[in-house]
Amino acid sequence: MSISLDQLTKRYQGVPVVNDVSLEIGDGEFFVLLGPSGSGKSTLLRSIAGLSGLDHGRIALHGRDVTHVAARKRGVGLVFQNYALFQHMTVAENIEFALRVRRVRAAERRRRRQELLRLVALEGMDERLPAQLSGGQQQRVAVARALAHKPEVLLLDEPFGALDAKIREGLRRTIREVQRELGITTVLVTHDQEEAFAMADKIGVMNLGRLLETGKPQDLYTRPATRFVATFLGAANLILARQGTNGPRWGARSPGLHCPGAAGGAREREVVAVVRPEEVEIARSHEELFSSDYLGHGVVEDVLFTGALERARIRLDEAPDAPILAHANADGAILLEATRAQFEQRAFAISPGQDVAIGVRRAHVLPTPLSSFTVCGSNPSAVERLAGHPLLLDLSSRMKTRIRRYLEPTLGGSAPSRESAAALPGTTVIAAHRNVASDAMWLLEQGVEEVLILPEHAPSPQRVLIHWMDESARRATLAASASVLRHVAAEAIYVDVLPERTAATERSFGIRDLLDARSEARVAHGLEIRTELRFGVLAQALTEQLDESPGHMLIIGITSASQLTAELAALLTNPRWPLLLVHRGCEALAHSRSAA
């Protein structure tokens, strides 16, 4: 491995800007760090260069631990967004700077300089001053300068940021060619996904300081694991679907859409499917859909001609069995986006107001277990109050998903009726009260798998405590926790509680459980969690820890609804913190596995 980063964390004034990033970059690889501004990607790059210290973690370059090595001894070349050329030196002096520092003889310096100038196509510019060059030329000089001392790693910090589109194109090509010719491991930081696709062997997507996913551009585009990557890399429609035995079902009528990764499972559960706009087909009627599965009907809202492609936005019909978009677009309208190539436009021209049938050529189901929220309450005002809960609004907007409302009169009573309710999709949200355990129990018995219990005042959590009642709930609980933690800036702590008088051998089992939890979180979800072992009675030990400071959230994995009234009873009487219950029977386990 050329670059290997191990759990890098960097905080500014207590806020992590780089949050537990681990990453391996292979020899000769062109790696692109992609993320919005403020995602911590530049800070990460500067840490690799040695220009920014770390609070935690290790950096190795070609097997050499350089965590505490000064920038000048790391053997990296760094290219800055604003070139950072030495203005008082000529092009030649700039390029030879690193060689002069190393006391290389003049003849050798000249030879190397000419080689580099040829490489970046600036031959004969030796004696110019940077001020006499265009922006693109200056950046070429900067690239040559960064390569002069034959660094093992080339780092580029938004190198095209200050250039206009035409020059950008040419410089991109040059950098890619130089990189191939020298075979140098390269890391480029950018916020431009098109640039990332054009240059990368591999892309790492960062958001809020976390490295969310890494992979080949193609894989990340077609099979993202997170909502953020799905929507940040190109446009995406997030559609709520039901995952059954035969893959996702959009409406009630269309079974059997082919979808990779969907295999057997006992019951239907709600999932989030990514449908790229170019995978949407539009036809006059259901029968005329050519190569795709039927999604539903809709009305064309607007059509935008953009040259090669046409962009259309379609308002889906609101039939009871119609598919549902998970999130609103930028302007608040819930519209399906489609792009069509010229030949499609010729085959079937559309105009605003037209009624069309919509099909999906290809869909990808996200492995996240938290698909949407359904707010449940016994009367309309309670439902509305809960649907407007700040924490819930925050979560749903960050998760780009919707909040549905559902009225269930039997909730909140001391003994809810045993009549079966309609299947509640997604994560069910209920308000905390004294007897919330019986509500939760009833919901779980109806087949709900995640219940979020919200007290009236709950700030955005800073620490998330995780616990599962049984090892068989571990996988599902971790998956749900990962989903939550990607959308809140919080530390994750797994807590295991052993009885007060535990034998030494059993204690070692407890510690092994902790290690297992950590490694699974890291391997399966790229999530770093801390672990703590406590002794005592479960509910009491957890309550103590929750009360240590405000801003906690609790996630508990259970295997049977009866645990709510037994071991967890004390926790569930009027809880003061948001509490997410993840319920998985043994049979549901295989299913959630298959979605990942």
């Binding site: 500067r46 260069a49 040695g50 220009l51 000064a70 920038a71 000048r72 001894k73 790391r74 990296v76 070349g77 760094l78 800055f80 604003n82 950072a84 050329l85 030495f86 203005q87 008082h88 030196m89 700077f97 690193a98 520092v101 190393r102 001053l129 940077p130 001020a131 006499q132 060059l133 265009s134 922006g135 693109g136 030329q137 200056q138 900067a142 300068r145 960064a146 002069a148 001392h149 780092l155 200050a162």
Partner: protein
């Protein structure tokens, strides 16, 4: 806005007219008076005033002292600017605000205060006296006052240059393998050189023309600790207008040369920073 581009904004004639009129009345007319008086003075009389031994001695002190003071400020001004720009320490903000004190403090006040501090029985003069250094009423005192008066200029020109331009360049040099001393010599100093020279020149100009703070600490001994501005005042007090005007003319010429130097230095600094294609 480019030359010849029309603008809809009003008030050009009014403001420019007022500016030119006021400038002429307050600045240009008096200057013309001085120039004309100096020009109309017979040459031998002019030479008598300008090249008298007493005048020559005063030039030596004024120009030499100002040069020395500017050199001291070049070094210490850079150190202070560096400290303020690069280090975080308790009292940094206070120190930053204090730099402008010589500028805000009336020169008469700094004159008597410096004299009090550095007199042979003063707070610091007492200890300097023990090692045989006399500051008050000597040429050293003149240089000290000149240093004080020029200090803000030296610091305030270098400080922003150190703050703004250099961080990226230093980072670049560091990743290219340069040590800190090498970065300092080859990257930082060349880049802030125009600012340093501008600061030097400003400090020199200020020290050269300074009057108030010096006359208290210098003792004003003819031929020894008498600065040129004081000599002008003495001529005036003797109603020797022509002598005063002649000396004034010499000082004024020096000021023009300095002003020109500053403008050239700033143009040089700008040229080096110009980036085409942006």
């Amino acid at each position: 806005m480019r030359e010849g581009q029309p603008t809809v904004l009003p008030g050009f004639g009014l403001t420019l007219g007022f500016t030119t009129f006021f400038l002429s009345a307050v600045v240009l007319l008096p200057l013309a008076a001085l120039a004309l008086l100096a020009a109309s003075t017979p040459l031998h009389q002019l030479l008598d005033a300008v090249a008298s031994p007493r005048a020559l001695a005063s030039y030596q002190l004024s120009f030499g002292g100002a040069l020395l003071a500017a050199c001291i400020n070049l070094v210490f001004g850079f150190i202070i600017a560096w400290t303020l720009a690069r280090y975080e320490f308790p009292g940094r903000k206070l120190m930053d605000a204090m730099i402008d004190l010589p500028f805000a403090l009336p020169t008469a006040v700094s004159g008597i205060a410096l004299t009090a501090v550095f007199a042979n029985n003063g707070w610091l003069g007492r200890y300097l006296d023990m090692v045989g250094i006399h500051v008050a009423y000597t040429r050293l005192g003149v240089i000290l006052a000149m240093t004080l008066i020029g200090m803000p200029f030296a610091v305030r020109t270098v400080q922003p240059a150190l703050l703004e331009v250099q961080r990226d360049l230093e980072d670049a040099a560091e990743t290219l393998g340069a040590g800190r001393w090498y970065v300092f010599r080859r990257v930082i100093v060349p880049a802030v050189l125009p600012a340093m020279l501008t600061g030097f020149t400003l400090a020199f100009a200020r020290a050269l023309g300074e009057y108030g703070s010096i006359i208290f600490i210098s003792g004003n001994l003819p031929m020894k600790t008498e600065i040129t501005p004081l000599l002008i005042v003495i001529h005036l007090e003797e109603f020797d207008y022509r002598g005063a005007a002649a000396l004034g003319f010499v000082m004024l010429a020096a000021s023009f040369v300095i002003l020109l130097t500053i403008n050239l230095l700033q143009a040089w600094g700008r040229d080096r920073m110009v980036r085409r294609g942006q």
